[in-house]
């Protein structure tokens, strides 16, 4: 589904990504781990189409389509979804109105007419239930005054509503207590199927106990320095990142 080849990127002339290779197939869950500042969020922003970063080398292909030719909104129309590490507050726009606008924008891009209100409400109710979201929450202004946990839950709610084919969860576990974490992870797991794929970006292994990855990649200093299965995450948890830094410094 997503193929990244030798991706180099920089921001304000500073190299952040220094040659990333990644191949994500439908039905798979990939975890990208790494210490702070290794480039994890840059990679997720780049896939979603953030224009703050400049690709200097390499390419990203989604089902063979070159992503660099698509705007952020076009990538969303192609099925990419980024759950933000820091979701933005939009005062004056309710969660419901926002999701309605987003869904219909995606439908319009595909030449489908607006979703009928009854269908939309039904879907909202169903997905809100899945994530244990109160209906009062849905009429509040988007992310305004939300707790860290509410923001993250709202991100996954949007994901559930938009049904993307490739979801990138950027530090979705940060700010969540263990109960909220379970709800969110359960939601993500229920949305998983053989046709979609998930990239979980996280610093800690804790989320991966609940969203079990097929592959784990360790990102350090803009490069994937080690890839493996879910056992790698446990190893990282046990040994910390220092041995990875060690590994990287020896050029392995």
């Amino acid at each position: 589904m997503l193929t990244i080849e030798n991706l180099h990127a920089e921001v304000n002339g500073k190299a952040i990504l220094k040659g990333i290779d990644l191949d994500v197939k439908a039905g798979e869950v990939h975890a990208i781990m790494g210490p702070n500042g290794s480039g994890k969020s840059t990679l997720s922003s780049l896939i979603a189409g953030n224009e703050d970063y400049e690709i200097t080398k390499g390419e990203m292909l989604l089902r063979g389509k070159n992503l660099s030719e698509l705007d952020a909104e076009q990538r969303a129309h192609e099925g990419i979804f980024l759950s933000f590490q820091y979701p933005v507050e939009i005062p004056g726009v309710s969660v419901t109105n926002f999701i309605k606008t987003a869904i219909n924008a995606n439908r319009k891009a595909k030449g489908i007419e607006d979703m009928p209100a009854s269908e939309l409400l039904k879907k909202i109710r169903e997905k809100a239930k899945l994530l244990d979201i109160d209906s009062k929450f849905l009429s509040r202004s988007l992310n305004e005054g939300f707790s860290g946990g509410e923001k993250k839950r709202n991100e996954i709610f949007q994901m559930a509503m938009l049904e993307p084919s490739l979801s990138i969860l950027d530090e979705t576990d940060s700010g969540l207590d263990i109960d909220a974490l379970k709800i969110v992870a359960n939601g993500v797991n229920k949305l998983k199927n053989k046709d979609n794929a998930t990239i979980v970006i996280t610093h800690y292994q804790r989320l991966l106990d609940h969203i079990v990855p097929d592959f784990v990649h360790v990102l350090f200093d803009g490069k994937i320095v080690k890839s493996g299965t879910k056992e790698l995450a446990h190893e990282l948890e046990a040994k910390g990142y220092d041995w990875i830094k060690e590994l990287a410094s020896h050029g392995i």
């Binding site: 909104e73 980024l82 507050e89 004056g92 606008t101 924008a105 949007q158």
Partner: protein, 447 residues
């Protein structure tokens, strides 16, 4: 000698002065109103049009406007079909209407009343004996004498809206004051004069607009005096969405007595040049004054909001919240003055002016001006000028919302807390629609 640069300016001023005799020809020259006109004309003669040299007009120049030869009196009466102007009414709400065409009252389009309250004409109030006491008490008593544009208006004061809400009366229907210009004159200079008195415990909602029906140069120099008595409630909306050939110099002076609430919303969405002078004077304790505005401009439109809240009594509150959105080469000015007298302890005065520049060539000049002589007060002000938040824009786009709609959504959100306090649902809907149109989007929902 005046330099050639100001030649037009002089010429139009001369025209205003020399036409005054003809203007008063059919009017009573023995009453106090004539006296007021004569005094005001003298003040205008001495002061002339405001120039950019004056601090209060530093960023707004009338010079370009004054180069045209405006007709002061329409040559003929113009009639308008209801169907042509219906869209400017709040047609889905039953309202009283005071409608003028080229400054002349249109009984056909209006819906006035004397049943329990007076919603009628200034020309009647200024001349009929039964209004004499009220006119003596309020007319030209609220507006300051020394302001030259107000003096000019006073010198030509004859027609406009006269509204009197007696004690404990709640006006059941909103009142619409609409000034149309037909476009039948080459260029037209209008000077409506409104007087609104809301007596003790009374309540009223008023909507005012000035609307050209055809592209042609119009300048409206409008003055509205409002007296809000104790425990009374005024809810006033100015809808400024005129054609790009029309300019408006609008001066509103509000006196409030104790325990009264006066709220003014100004929506500036279109016009060539708009200057809003909005002044509040407090004459009692526990007064609430609300001043809110949304300005959305493009092309080379210019809007200047000059507000003054004069806290002259203790325990009063004022809230100002103006949002500005400026595209292309449009220009915004905000000059918010808060004056707190020494006696006005426990004053709460808040002022916010936030602006978004959508294009590099758009400009905003914002200046809070707080003069506080009391020591136990809460006063705050804040002004910001910025662009739309890029991160928020990316967030919306990453959800599949195209850039243009995302910008519009954020712009809506930015203006929303001013819209939220609009008390008339159909007006709110109307303004929402106009803002969406102005931003070139259909968001598919009401905010």
């Amino acid at each position: 000698m005046t330099g050639s640069k100001n030649w037009h300016l002089m010429e139009f001023k001369e025209k205003l002065l020399s036409s005054h005799l003809a203007f008063e020809e059919d009017l009573n020259l023995n009453d106090s109103v004539h006296q007021a006109r004569a005094t005001a004309l003298k003040i205008f003669e001495d002061k002339g049009f405001p120039s950019k040299k004056e601090e209060a007009w530093k960023y707004t120049s009338l010079e370009a406007l004054l180069k045209k030869d405006y007709a002061l009196f329409p040559k003929s009466e113009s009639s308008i079909e209801v169907n042509d102007v219906k869209k400017y009414f709040l047609y889905d709400t039953d309202t009283y209407k005071i409608i003028f065409i080229d400054g002349v009252y249109s009984p056909f389009l209006s819906n006035t009343t004397h049943d329990g309250l007076d919603v009628c004409l200034m020309s009647a109030a200024l001349t009929k004996p039964k209004y004499k006491d009220l006119i003596d008490r309020y007319f030209n008593k609220i507006a300051p004498e020394d302001d030259s544009m107000t003096a000019l208006n006073t010198s030509y004061a004859k027609e406009g809206a006269y509204i009197y809400i007696p004690k404990s009366v709640v006006a059941e229907k909103p009142i619409e004051i609409i000034h149309f210009s037909s476009g039948n004159e080459q260029a037209l200079w209008l000077q409506p004069r409104n007087l609104i008195v809301v007596d003790e415990n009374a309540q009223v909602q008023i909507i005012e607009r000035h609307q050209s029906l055809k592209e042609h140069p119009v300048v409206t120099n409008c003055v509205t005096e409002i007296y809000v008595h104790q425990n009374a409630f005024l809810d006033y909306y100015k809808l400024q969405n005129d054609l790009p050939s029309a300019s408006l110099i609008d001066s509103t002076f509000i006196v409030q007595e104790k325990n009264s609430h006066a709220s003014m919303h100004t929506f500036s969405l279109g016009g060539k040049l708009i200057r809003n002078n909005l002044c509040y004077f407090h004459k009692g304790e526990h007064i609430m004054s609300t001043l809110k505005g949304v300005t959305i401009l493009h092309e080379k439109q210019h809007v200047d909001h000059a507000t003054l809240v004069h806290h002259a009594q203790p325990n009063c509150e004022s809230h100002q919240d103006y949002k500005g959105i400026f595209a292309e080469r449009s220009e915004g000015v905000f000059n918010g003055q808060i004056l707190v007298d020494k006696i006005a302890q426990k004053t709460n005065a808040f002022q916010q002016n936030n602006n978004i520049l959508l294009d590099d060539k758009a400009t905003v000049n914002t200046k809070p001006q707080l003069e506080i002589f009391a020591d136990d007060v809460k006063c705050s002000h804040g002004c910001t000028i910025g662009q739309l938040d890029e991160e928020a824009l990316f967030y919306l786009r990453s959800r599949g919302i195209p850039k243009k709609e995302a910008k519009a959504l954020m712009t809506y959100a930015f203006a929303n807390n001013v819209l939220e306090s609009v008390q008339l649902p159909s007006l709110k809907k109307r303004i929402n629609g106009q803002i969406a149109k102005k931003l070139g989007v259909n968001l598919g929902f009401e905010l």
